[in-house]
Symmetry: C2
Subunit: 362 residues, 2 copies
């Protein structure tokens, strides 16, 4: 790590691999010999075609997606997907199942309801402040899709695996854990992920959609809100968010070529989260907020004995070059987001700091 950089535990926008940032900087005034910045080249040029096509190809290889899947880049973040999914997939008489596992699930449900789309909340962990992932859910056999939030950034919980939904396709918000582990694509109808946590900067949402999901989209949806607009034009019906897509491409290249794929990434993420959770379990000072079997490997949420200590902890950590440890403003406490680009060294440094803080304040 360059000495003037911090260890960044932000929840999103979040840390990016330093080698990616360096590559962007190196070529920022002259991308690929074009004599232009990546921010100045036409999205209709061969230069940009190569960028977006490479990002699509790497996504398919990394997630082992077969030819049924399309990879799209859409603006508006996951929040725009909350609106587009019911708009595109719930025609008259159709309904969808949603699991409510936290703030973002709830918002996804609300945006469907706002459009008067029938949604059934088949599971919720609201009873225990969203501290766990529901089990033994009864899904509707006639649901158009089942919507799950794969990882809950704010509450620090994560689906360890996805439940059996029979023949009903899964629609997954993977904003905070996409590319952090391999997935079984068999049951997937659609995946979406705001890039700014695991795969890039803010400003673009990756959407992976299975071909058959596109067959029933109504005609009268505004062009920019219709998935087929994006599939028909390789995400370039209008000018796409070029810089964000380019950065995603570089992160995917790093995942494939430097990390060595998602199995290796998963092992690294396991090690990072083990470092923190094993430490919690040996300490009476730091308490994890998620139930053990639902703990997230991406967002590690914890409390200290009181709020004053939490404030001191966050401030002192920042002074030591450990940033972004404050919990989400809606829940308080502390949170270490340890996405793909967070290094083992960074997590070890954090644990050392936590030990030292405990010994001085415990």
């Amino acid at each position: 790590m360059q000495t003037n950089r911090i260890y960044n535990f932000n929840a999103g926008p979040a840390a990016l691999p330093e080698s990616v940032l360096e590559e962007i900087r190196e070529s920022f005034l002259n991308f690929d010999g074009s004599g232009m910045s990546i921010t100045e080249i036409s999205h209709r040029s061969k230069w940009f075609d190569d960028v977006i096509n490479d990002a699509v190809a790497r996504t398919k290889r990394l997630l082992k997606l077969d030819e049924r899947f399309r990879v799209l880049f859409i603006q508006g973040g996951a929040s725009m997907q909350f609106c587009m999914i019911p708009m595109n997939f719930l025609a008259d008489g159709q309904s969808a199942d949603y699991a409510d596992t936290g703030t973002w699930s709830s918002k996804a449900i609300q945006e469907a309801q706002l459009q008067n789309k029938p949604v059934k909340v088949v599971a919720s962990s609201k009873d225990k402040n969203y501290s766990y992932i529901p089990k033994e859910i009864e899904f509707s056999a006639d649901a158009r899709y089942v919507h799950l939030t794969s990882n809950n950034t704010i509450k620090g919980t994560q689906w360890a695996g996805f439940p059996d939904t029979g023949s009903v396709p899964l629609v997954l918000d993977m904003s905070s854990d996409i590319m952090s582990r391999p997935i079984d694509s068999d049951k997937i109808g659609l995946i979406y992920a705001g890039a700014q946590k695991n795969i890039g900067p803010a400003g673009v949402c990756m959407v992976i959609v299975r071909d058959d999901m596109l067959e029933t989209i109504p005609d009268n949806i505004p062009s920019m809100l219709k998935y087929t607009t994006y599939t028909a034009k390789n995400s370039m019906y209008n000018t796409p968010p070029c810089f964000s897509i380019y950065t995603v491409q570089l992160v995917l290249k790093w995942l494939e070529e430097t990390v060595g794929g998602l199995e290796k990434m998963e092992a690294i993420n396991q090690k990072k989260s083990d470092l923190l959770y094993n430490f919690f379990d040996s300490s009476d000072f730091y308490q994890g907020t998620a139930e053990l079997s639902s703990r997230s490997k991406m967002n590690v949420t914890f409390r200290l004995p009181d709020e004053e200590l939490e404030k001191t902890f966050v401030a002192l950590a920042m002074q030591e070059g450990l940033g972004g440890l404050k919990g989400h403003r809606s829940v308080g406490g502390c949170r270490a987001s340890i996405y793909n680009a967070t290094t083992i060294t960074g997590v070890e440094t954090l644990v050392d700091f936590m030990k030292s803080f405990e010994s001085q304040n415990g």
Copy 2:
């Protein structure tokens, strides 16, 4: 200009001021002493608050907007605005006037019609292949708004001034000429502009809206498509496109502090377009495609005697470091986009090349 950079006449994404690119590069791994890249900092941090608030304040100063106006940053480009404008402003029984002056106007009209919103096309220049800006238009006194495309990127025409619409507010697509000249904000209800031509990179659309326009927005619009979602949260209801907004902020700083404001920018743009148009008018070889009184100061469209010569011209120009001169794929011919960041030296170099090409092929 750095010697490995070209003169960039792309229509969008387009040239950015070199000093802005250099500033981004310099601080790319450590923004404002944060120890993080601008792509890694939280949008809820003071660092980013300062960026977005400065962009808003500079926009208001540059365009001399009074306190009635709000400046927003929305994803999805101008194309998303084509959909949001009728969705937000045309309640049951309300209709809007549109002038059809080219591809983007037509798309704006189509997106309103797709939602079954009543729109009246009060003027069109389709009869002459959109080569002119209509005059003496009769507007509807009861229209909710009048929609105009301020500058037509593809056809190379521009409204020299805006027509009198009585008490009906103007809604302007200024994607390709925002901040290129001062405007009279008196009649403006809303301005929108995809950033990637005059004020930044792709991935963000600036929207300027007058407070009273917000009073009649229906409640049942999806959150991400409702202007009040953005006004309520300073454009940060969800994670905004941070890097694009940051770059816009730097371009606005350049406009204020280096160029010296929009009167000065307009004089420079006048000089650049005069260089090209005066040269056309002295040549039988190059023919401008727009009617004289409708010529754009941003996109200078022209033809050579035949298509083969046009291909040679574009290819040879590129070899000489003059890029992006091919006309839009829907109309053919040639086009020099000379937005704010295109330099007088760049345009002079282009005219010299054109003279030399004519002498060898004329």
